[in-house]
């Protein structure tokens, strides 16, 4: 009996090891069963995918550039645009907030649908409404600067290339989904 208890304890320890290791093994090796572990782990934000600077680190930096368009025809650069203009030097922890991480995610896959971007733009509608001036729409552009290869920089070129701007999407603040968010927003309800 004691031996069986030891065996059971050992199996539990092995199971913990499998939970950590299996999500990182190639599907070609072991099939798709770790996806069950992954989905349960995701529920409690326990994720075992470690794709850091892989397969390559970034070779360009992209910032979002947001312009609010109002009903009277006027426009205004939002804080994201101002951040982009100052964002090409250096960064320290005290210059960052966690919202910068969200902005980073919202920049992914500019040519495809991106839920992170969709929710970010809706949140910007709420933010601007709270600040007292509700835009009709928010135009999102991206400004990208490529990093020059080391041999070119050694030959005298600048490390960051020319800024390239492109339209990514337009977020509308008067669609039903955003109106629902605004109506349910407790901060706006407080006035």
């Amino acid at each position: 009996m004691k031996g069986l208890v030891r065996l059971a304890r050992a199996l539990c320890v092995l199971a913990l090891g499998v939970i950590i290791v299996a999500p990182n093994l190639p599907k070609e090796w072991i099939g798709d069963w770790p996806s069950t572990i992954v989905s349960y782990g995701r529920k409690v934000s326990f994720v075992q995918r470690w794709k850091m600077y892989a397969p390559n680190p970034q070779r360009a930096q992209t910032y979002m550039n947001l312009t609010a368009h109002f009903a009277d025809g006027s426009t205004a650069d939002l804080e994201e645009t101002l951040q982009e203009r100052d964002g090409w030097g250096r960064t320290f922890a005290w210059n960052k907030t966690r919202v910068d991480i969200w902005r980073h995610y919202a920049n992914f896959n500019p040519k495809r649908a991106n839920d992170h971007r969709k929710w970010y733009l809706r949140a910007v509608c709420v933010r601007e409404a709270r600040r007292g001036r509700m835009p009709d729409k928010i135009v999102m552009e991206q400004v990208t600067r490529r990093f020059a290869p080391p041999d070119k920089v050694a030959a005298g070129r600048r490390g960051l290339g020319r800024p390239r701007r492109r339209l990514v999407t337009v977020g509308y603040c008067k669609v039903k989904r955003v109106r629902d968010m605004l109506e349910a927003d407790p901060v706006l309800a407080q006035g």
């Binding site: 913990l16 680190p57 970034q58 030097g89 320290f92 969200w102």
Partner: protein, 352 residues
């Protein structure tokens, strides 16, 4: 059959279930949870803005956006409720850090942290993913049995199984091997320019030094890039060899590679920390290296620190398998530590 079962039992014991002094796991708890507590505290002042009904994404919209996650803040989302739960989480972290009511404190600390991440996962990046992985692993372990107030005040000091530290070691190895194996691009493999490009990124660089980086690329950054990939992928082999070495009683044919691998890691992460903004990744990683210290080593460091402070060792430290292994090798204690070595005898059970 009986002999086979006996051998299997011995293998299971050496690999997982044999017991060791809880001091090393206790130190690992203190250091790792200390970093986690600091990371928690950086949320102070923004908790309501991030997790309550006053967040930009709140109520039904937040639940819809993050439907795959669990968070207590989906249920309790009034700003005062969120601040209270966060404060409970901070207190739980502090209790876990000092090892008082460790089991309950660790579970509450874990619950509050995953609630924060689950409520708004887009505010969190890979360093926070490491935090979540380590907090989950540490929460499972009986890390309050040594170097804790539970041990000192509540009589909870007991040995811990050897698998506990090995699980933390496994987690570290998985992070490194996985990311190393995925670094298959030309910048890592062919060109060796990955570190150069990383240090050029204005999103998180601390210094603008493009020309200098380009000038040292062939001589320093390229070899460092390749060395990093080799080291990351090799870390898995190091951990397996380390486990075999410990299971076999540290024979001479298995060299102790910890100094080489962990020193490289400390230098690499230290360099990253100086040159880049990477949140809490470096402190967490280096803190988790304490899982590679044996109970004997931790005890010696503790005795050395006490002597540096001018006090005598205050409590007898337990015997550990390291002493036995050192005796088998005929190893001498460090020259400046004879008193400590003598004081380490106790009647705690040996580990194997």
């Amino acid at each position: 059959m009986r002999a086979l079962w006996s051998q299997l039992d011995r293998l299971i014991g050496r690999a997982m279930l044999d017991e060791e002094d809880p001091t090393a796991l206790g130190l690992c708890r203190i250091v790792v949870v200390g970093i986690m507590t600091a990371s928690m505290l950086t949320h102070v002042g923004a908790v309501s803005d991030y997790f309550s009904s006053h967040a930009l994404l709140n109520g039904e919209a937040a639940r819809e956006a993050f439907h795959s996650r669990w968070s207590i803040f989906f249920t309790f989302d009034e700003p005062w409720q969120v601040r209270t739960i966060f404060a409970v989480g901070v207190v739980a972290h502090l209790l876990w850090l000092v090892g008082l009511f460790t089991r309950v404190a660790s579970f509450i600390a874990w619950g509050v942290w995953i609630s924060m991440v689950g409520r708004q996962p887009l505010l969190y990046a890979l360093p926070d993913q490491l935090h979540t992985a380590l907090i989950t692993v540490m929460m499972i372990l009986p890390a309050g049995r040594g170097l804790s107030l539970d041990a000192r005040w509540r009589g909870k000091r007991r040995p811990v199984p050897v698998w506990c530290r090995r699980l933390v070691q496994l987690q570290i190895a998985v992070v490194y091997v996985s990311t190393g194996a995925l670094k298959s691009g030309a910048t890592w493999r062919d060109q060796g320019t990955a570190i150069y490009y990383t240090l050029l990124n204005p999103y998180n660089r601390h210094f603008v030094m493009d020309s200098w980086l380009a000038s040292i690329q062939p001589w320093i950054l390229r070899p460092a890039t390749w060395a990093t990939v080799v080291w990351e992928v090799g870390f898995g082999g190091f951990v397996v060899l380390h486990w075999l070495r410990e299971m076999l009683g540290r024979p001479r044919r298995f060299p102790d590679l910890r100094k080489i691998f962990l020193t490289f890691g400390v230098l690499m992460h230290g360099g990253i920390q100086v040159l880049l903004y990477v949140e809490w990744f470096t402190p967490l990683m280096i803190a988790s290296y304490t899982a590679f210290l044996t109970p004997d080593e931790v005890t010696r460091v503790g005795a050395w620190l006490r002597r540096r402070r001018g006090g005598a060792p205050s409590e007898a430290a337990p015997d550990s398998p390291d002493d036995a292994a050192a005796d088998e090798r005929g190893a001498e204690p460090a020259e400046d530590e004879p008193a400590a070595a003598e004081s380490e005898a106790s009647d705690d059970p040996p580990s194997s």
